[in-house]
């Protein structure tokens, strides 16, 4: 597959750069004269870079802002502040034809394969719809052939082009969603929880398909998930989000073997490991309480209310996501250290 317009394709160069992205949803009061009484800080200053051909995993619990981040990147939401550049062009300033070209380059795979496909459209129409919006992507008369190629690419039978979504299983529907995302030959695919609605045996098939497509087409993924085991398997680099912020970011190895942020350490220790022998040997960190409301996050470090290391400074000073003495990858903790000290 050839990607549109770009001249040089160097694997490893930065393709998407996100700078201090903020999205606050206003909370209003009053019927006629609405006034803003607060804001849900869904995404509160997120920066990262995505390189060509790599997978960036974004993990976090519900309400941490990872899906809002995906919607921002797709320009389904307008950011409150901050910016992003895709191949050097401003993602949020583009409009009209330029926006259409940018969107072509970045596509999305949704979580729920049952609601993200129109039940009244055939698979051919669903996968072919992007060509109606971008007629130049498929020369006249070649649409059907392209759709069949795409079906074949994601491991579905090309003869099933006239079937409807309900005739497919969950895993097959997710493949249809992936085929639709691939239709315009994008370079970046934002995957928002692409396998969390699937059974274990089907989940592995879809993960393997995503990896295989990445190898063949040189795609870059932003892979959003709550399942840390899945992310470890597919991601090259991982960003951990908590209450709208990235608290730690690094290579797969840095996050899973050398995490320095207490939230990452707690998250990792809470993941159930399918090995009964490890039952009593694991050093468990049990967080107390729930994630605070993003409408009213704690002052300073957002995690301090659940953190066993919290000191006075954590309530006052917001820790930056910068390299720490414990390990050179960025971590947003004043007391970053490699070995987790177990909470008292």
């Amino acid at each position: 597959m050839t990607a549109p317009t770009n001249s040089t394709k160097v694997r490893g160069e930065t393709i998407l750069s996100v700078d201090n992205l903020v999205k606050h949803f206003p909370i209003t009061q009053g019927v006629l004269f609405q006034r803003q009484v607060g804001a849900v800080k869904a995404v509160d200053g997120v920066s990262f870079e995505l390189r060509r051909g790599e997978t960036l995993g974004v993990v976090g619990e519900s309400g941490c802002g990872k899906s809002t981040l995906a919607r921002l990147l797709m320009r389904l939401e307008t950011p409150t502040s901050g910016g992003a550049t895709l191949e050097g062009r401003d993602l949020f300033k583009a409009s009209g034809g330029e926006l259409r070209r940018l969107r072509r380059n970045m596509q999305m795979v949704m979580q729920d394969p049952y609601t993200s496909l129109n039940p009244r459209m055939t698979v051919g129409d669903i996968i072919g719809e992007p060509f109606e919006i971008h007629p130049d992507a498929a020369p006249k008369g070649s649409k059907q052939k392209r759709v069949q190629e795409l079906l074949d690419l994601v491991g579905l039978n090309p003869e099933h082009i006239n079937r409807y979504p309900h005739q497919f299983s969950g895993g097959q529907r997710q493949r249809i969603g992936i085929a639709r995302a691939l239709a315009l030959k994008p370079e970046i695919i934002v995957c928002d929880e692409p396998v969390s609605a699937l059974d274990v045996s089907i989940q592995a098939q879809v993960i393997n398909l995503l990896k295989q497509l990445q190898g063949e087409l040189g795609l870059s993924y932003v892979f959003i998930a709550h399942d840390l085991s899945v992310v470890r398997h597919i991601a090259d680099r991982v960003a951990v989000m908590y209450l709208g912020r990235i608290v730690e970011i690094g290579t797969e190895d840095e996050i899973y073997e050398r995490a320095t942020h207490p939230y990452t350490q707690a998250l990792l220790s809470a993941v159930p490991v399918p090995d009964p022998e490890a039952r009593d040997q694991r050093n468990m960190i049990r967080l107390v309480g729930d994630v605070p409301s993003p409408a009213d996050p704690p002052s300073g470090c957002h995690f301090r209310t659940r953190c066993w290391k919290a000191q006075d400074i954590c309530a006052v000073e917001d820790p930056a996501t910068v390299p720490r003495a414990a390990d050179p990858h960025p971590s947003a903790c004043h007391f970053a250290e490699l070995r987790p000290t177990t909470p008292a």
Binding site: E61, V200, H226, P272, P274
Partner: protein
Amino acid sequence: MTHSTVEPTPASATPEGGHLLELRDLHVEFRTNEGVAQVINGVSYHLDAGETLAVLGESGSGKSVTAQAIMGILDTPPAFVRSGQILYRGQDLLTQSEEQRRQVRGQEIAMIFQDALSALNPVFPVGWQIGETLRQRAGMSRADARRRAIELMDLVKIPGAAKRIGDYPHQFSGGMRQRVMIAMALALEPKVLIADEPTTALDVTVQAQIMDLLADLRRELNMAMILITHDLGVVAGVADRIAVMYAGRIVEHADVRSLYKAPAHPYTKGLLESIPRLDVRGQELSTIKGLPPNLMHIPSGCPFHPRCPYVQQVCVDVVPHDLVLGDGRTSACHFAQEVRDDSAH
């Protein structure tokens, strides 16, 4: 929990040598307009006092329907129990009257569900909902029921129970709602708790809290627990024994350690190899090819044969019976010995 006024059921003693709860060759079918789906096809398992049995399976394997049959809350129609026995302390629940089953439900066997938000009534305060069981079934006064509801909320570690008793379900977080539902299930001090995917809708840090709570409560109250889940990680953490279900059958049954060490059914083996693991790096994920069967047209012979790497002609022709492998392990596979030896290294 000593001051309950709940009367003991007639058959309160387990017969000598019998199990607390035992399913024998249970068959359940769904009769729909499109045809008859064989959802449960001869499930047998047992549960002893104080132990945790995990029932593992993917969607459509029949794990939840089995639990609904035990509780007597199947949706009839379309669901019908075709044959089989569900013995609780030696008495067959399926032959009992609705009134007798009502006495067992809640008081002897209680159940918690995956989605606490839809299991709780949104228009009543949680304290009232926990107390309802106590008023209706244990004949408590409103004041007594309220006091007991606060104790139960304390038991499941809801902070500030006395203050939160008047709150409505939507005012609680997901993890706290799950605790409310656990408190309701424990109100009549059941001997068996069935937990149907209790943590599937929760985040990992909250999931860990709830699994710890369930394990502690089971020990404290000396309950037996049936944990229904699709998550091999959760099972490894808490279960004593596992029954793996596929297409309405139990394909493998073993104690938890030997099953993870050397699965003896190709389906279990495939499942274990297809999950990405947090503690293993750079592994290649193997997959189970194909899809689970349509329950209206279950394949002949072994229902797993179209997806199985060990398949031979005998698998297509003959339904495999449980092969006893020693240590109480069984596997419904013609090549169980071979599969286990392959998995062992």
